[in-house]
């Protein structure tokens, strides 16, 4: 809302420097967003709030400044040159929709000479950034910006029968508005009609047919009050934004309607016309004034400072409230009609605080009581996941929750995306069903900019519809690795990433959270290359997938390298109980280690070897791990050489070599019969 300091001075004496004025307005909550010197006048563009329609005119802003400076509002007379004719004899107003129009005032000004406005009026409108039109239109704009009350002027000669009917639109009615648009009216919209047809869309915009023209002689001035919700719905439906609608939808001052009509009549008659005698004022149910109880004690309780009683009385008085002491330290406060934002004690306390000064309220750190922050296990787990993955050399990314429906479809995960009714763009019109599409975009972005590899993860929610209109919002973890892995130093050539990088990262996460042992089972997934995906299982339930992304899925994001990725449903995982943490004593007795090198047919996966070893009932065998795997010069075609390190330990005594050898022989025998392994010669290596 633009205000002119010159104009403000019609209502209150202001003698602050521009900088002082800006600072002090800011500190009562009327923040000047821009300040401009316009021919000696200071134009301030004030930030406005949806709950303060009273500050949408100079009068209201002047009232605030008056309270700020402890100065009175200056009254001004609006004399009207009157005809002998009574308004009621030449015009009639009827309201048939009282809920949408609680008050309607009007009068007629005859003998108006439509023409250019006087200089002072042109100057005022130009200060508001408005282009003068003609004296009649300019007067209505002047009244709006002076007082915040929108008024409308009709060519009275075009009002059929001199009858104004405030009613709901009839089905199929249309109105050509002042800007020449044809508005299709709906039955819930309020119109101003004459005896036969709508002449204006109430509180929003006038009709062209009844508008002021050069040949207008008699003007009907409308100053009314309309229901904010009705105006807002109508303006939104028709996509109309007008100064009048802006004010009515926030709530105009129902008490001010007659004064604004008189003000307009005064200005028009000063330019040559004469007004009909007496105002038509249809106000069927004047609301009772709102009263609010205010307790001095409560001010201190809410603000943390004791504001002096006379300050409270002074400030609220200047703002237009009427205070009546009810008992000691309490008032019955009557709220003026223009303060639509005030209905509770807290609202009044805010008024006191604004003018007392937020800077004068002391600062006290909220005391810390005995209660400690509640543990948030989910966030603790997320922090551990992040730490683990960063340690694995993966960078963290954060992607949009929005997705492009076409790219989302390429994931082919069978989930129905949640669509947004009013998206910013069609390329962001659904919510992501998977983290993989976003991670692929990251790969494309970075590879296109010269990076030779990308190894990233994200934690975030994904969404999809489930049956009967319900939706799912689940926390997922996504990982992606493509291109070269970072080199660790000289002599460590950067290697191309592979499946094991992602699998290792998933294993590391699950171990860090004690969701282990996890299971990995070959299982096809539509986002992954056939035969190149593993289902990740914990306690038998599938909680994610990892593998190589389908090439045509990656290609949708223009990534043509092999991409390895995983997606874990953390929501499902976190519902499971992890392996309990238990301390185990560190073994006091030395163990024995034997490395077993053998050849096995390539048709047997390592998983089968591990399974066979896991099934062995050998109490001395503490554990095992794969330490080498190769095919090379010395390995026959169709076979692979594995070296498995076996760890042996006896809980009570030191093992002797012979008993370990015996167990190793048994292990070899069992592996031989299960998987037809062939021991490599000289290949049982002992490393104690």
């Amino acid at each position: 809302m633009k205000i002119s300091l010159d104009w403000i001075r019609e209502y209150v004496a202001v003698d602050l420097s521009p900088q002082e004025l800006v600072d002090r307005l800011t500190m009562i909550g009327l923040v000047p967003e821009t300040v401009e010197d316009k021919g000696g006048d200071l134009i301030l563009d004030l930030e406005t709030y949806a709950n303060r329609p009273d500050t949408l005119g100079h009068l209201g802003v002047a009232r605030e400044i008056g309270a700020m400076l402890a100065r009175p509002l200056l009254e001004r007379d609006w004399p009207v040159a009157e005809l002998g004719e009574a308004t009621a004899d030449i015009a009639d107003v009827q309201i048939t929709a009282e809920a949408l129009c609680p008050r309607y005032c009007g009068l007629v000004v005859r003998g108006v000479k439509v023409g250019p406005s006087p200089d002072w009026l042109v100057r005022r409108l130009e200060a508001m950034g408005l282009r003068p039109v003609n004296n009649v239109v300019d007067v209505s704009n002047y009244v709006l910006f002076a007082t915040g009350q929108p008024i409308h002027t009709f060519d009275f000669g075009r009002i059929g029968g001199g009858r104004i009917v405030v009613r709901k639109a009839k089905r199929g009615e249309t109105l050509v508005d002042l800007d020449g648009r044809t508005l299709e009216l709906a039955p819930d919209m309020l119109v101003i009609a004459d005896e036969s047809r709508p002449v204006a869309l109430a509180g929003v915009i006038g009709g062209q047919a009844s508008g002021i023209t050069a040949s207008t002689r008699d003007v009907f001035i409308e100053s009314a009050n309309f229901d904010p919700v009705g105006i807002r719905k109508t303006a939104k439906t028709l996509g109309l934004q007008t100064d009048a609608a802006y004010r009515f939808e926030r709530g105009a001052d129902i008490g001010f309607a007659p004064k604004a009509a008189v003000m307009a009549a005064s200005l028009l008659t000063a330019m040559g016309g004469q007004a009909s005698r007496g105002l038509i004022d249809r106000f069927p149910k004047p609301p009772k004034p709102r009263t609010v109880r205010l307790r001095l004690r409560r001010i201190a309780e809410l603000l943390g400072v004791a504001v002096p009683e006379d300050f409270v009385v002074e400030v609220l008085g200047r703002l237009g409230f009427r205070l009546e002491a009810s008992h000691h330290g309490a008032w019955r406060v009557e709220v003026p009609a223009f303060r639509v934002d005030i209905s509770r004690e807290a609202d009044l306390i805010e008024e006191v605080a604004r003018f007392y000064g937020y800077d004068r309220i002391p600062s006290v750190v909220t005391p810390v009581d005995s209660f400690a922050p509640a543990a948030n296990r989910k966030l603790d787990r997320l922090a551990r996941i992040r730490g683990t993955l960063l340690g694995q050399g993966l960078d963290e990314v954060i992607n949009w929750s929005f997705a492009d429906p076409e790219r989302e479809a390429a994931a082919a995960n069978g989930k129905t995306p949640v669509d947004i009714q009013n998206p910013i763009s069609t390329r962001a019109s659904v919510l992501r069903t998977t983290l993989l599409t976003g991670l692929l975009e990251n790969a494309a972005w970075n590879l296109n900019r010269g990076l030779d590899g990308l190894h990233v993860f994200e934690t975030g929610n994904v969404f999809h519809w489930i049956e009967d209109g319900k939706h799912c919002e689940d926390l997922h973890l996504g990982l992606l690795s493509t291109g070269l892995l970072p080199a660790a130093g000289l002599g460590t050539a950067a290697a191309e990433t592979d499946f094991s990088v992602i699998k290792g990262a998933v294993e590391a996460v699950l171990e860090a959270l004690r969701y282990d042992p996890a299971g990995f089972e070959p299982r096809d997934h539509p986002s992954f290359e056939p035969g190149r995906a593993l289902a990740v299982l914990y306690k038998g339930q599938e909680i994610g997938t990892l593998g190589q992304l389908r090439r045509d899925f990656a290609a949708v994001a223009s990534v043509d390298r092999a991409v390895y990725a995983a997606e874990i449903d953390l929501a499902a995982l976190f519902e499971k109980t992890p392996r309990p943490f238990q301390y185990a004593p560190v073994p006091k007795l030395p163990g024995v280690v034997r490395d077993l090198s053998f050849l096995v047919d390539t048709s047997h996966a390592y998983g089968e070897v591990a399974q066979a070893l896991g099934r062995l009932n050998q109490p001395l065998l503490e554990g095992f791990e794969l330490v080498d795997r190769f095919t090379g010069k010395s390995v026959p075609e169709g076979r692979v050489s594995l070296t498995v390190r076996l760890r042996f330990r006896h809980p009570q005594r030191t093992l002797v070599a012979e008993e370990v050898d015996r167990v190793v022989q048994e292990v070899v025998g069992q592996l031989r019969s299960a998987l037809d392994i062939q021991l490599r010669e000289g290949s049982i290596d002992s490393r104690a």
Binding site: R250, P373, Q421, H471, L490, G491, E681
Partner: protein, 346 residues
Amino acid sequence: MANLKERIDAVRKEFDEAARRAADAKSLEELRTAYLGRKRGHVTLLFEDLKSVPAEEKREAGRLVNELKQSVTVRLDAIEGQLSSVPPAVSAAGTDLTLPGRKRYVGRPHPLTLFEEEIERIFLGMGFSIEEGPEIETDYYNFEALNFPPHHPARDKWDTLFIKGDLLLRTHTSPVQVRVMERSKPPIRIICPGRVFRRETPDPTHLPMFMQVEGLVIDEGVTFAHLKGTLEYFLRALFGEKIKVRFRPSFFPFTEPSAEVDIECLVCSGKDPACRVCGGTGWKEILGSGMVDPQVLKNVNIDPEKYSGWAFGLGIDRTAMFAYGIPEMRYFYENDLRFLRQFGTK
């Protein structure tokens, strides 16, 4: 034969010792030539010697020599495997101490995560706990419970992306506050970080999605002075002890009184009338706050006569932009690693 057997054992022993010393690719190659070389290799020469072994012993002798060759081959292969992961610069330790060290790449957290954690740490230290809630919300939790009447123009500032029926993408994390107030009794002291969504046309400082952290304190005897003191403490912890902080009146439907909090412009300290950050005012709006509106308390069955509280909300992205002088908010979501990785060292 006994002679040959002794020679085999000797070769094996020598090889074992030499193999232990093989520390790089060069010495490994020399070792391979010395033992398996076609003409003069020690093992190769043993095969030559087989020719002079009596026929009846040939089979057994052949087996022994073959076994030796096999184990030498396996051992050499194994050493080769180990060496390939050891860089020569390190294995030749001491030759050039100025060579760069060997380090593993450690991933970097996203700057918004880092900044969020920094904020969380300050509040955790003041006894706040962290709460979360859904990103798809209902009109009730996002608006009505927070004292936004239906069809009120106040909703315009929280321009909303709608889903279906009364479902929408939350425009702030305030619904988390409502959910917590509904399910717990005062005293309440929480912060609620998370993604929020607005139907904003993208520009340098506005995006349709960003990160927010809100906070809420409800207890008996909580005043505006506590709001001021706690937020001043927070901002000093975040921006430095000397930062100037200013509270000024504002309007939010869910707080009464409401306050906007400004900090002094770190870029120009108010000295540049054309400053891109503060526009020459010297102040940068950093968060919104206020005393919880009594209607909001009533909506969650907390008696506003007995309890009072304050709340605040802050955009993590914009605060991080201000703190680090980042000109464009979208950098956070482009995930260009050249941008993201810088913050891991902050």
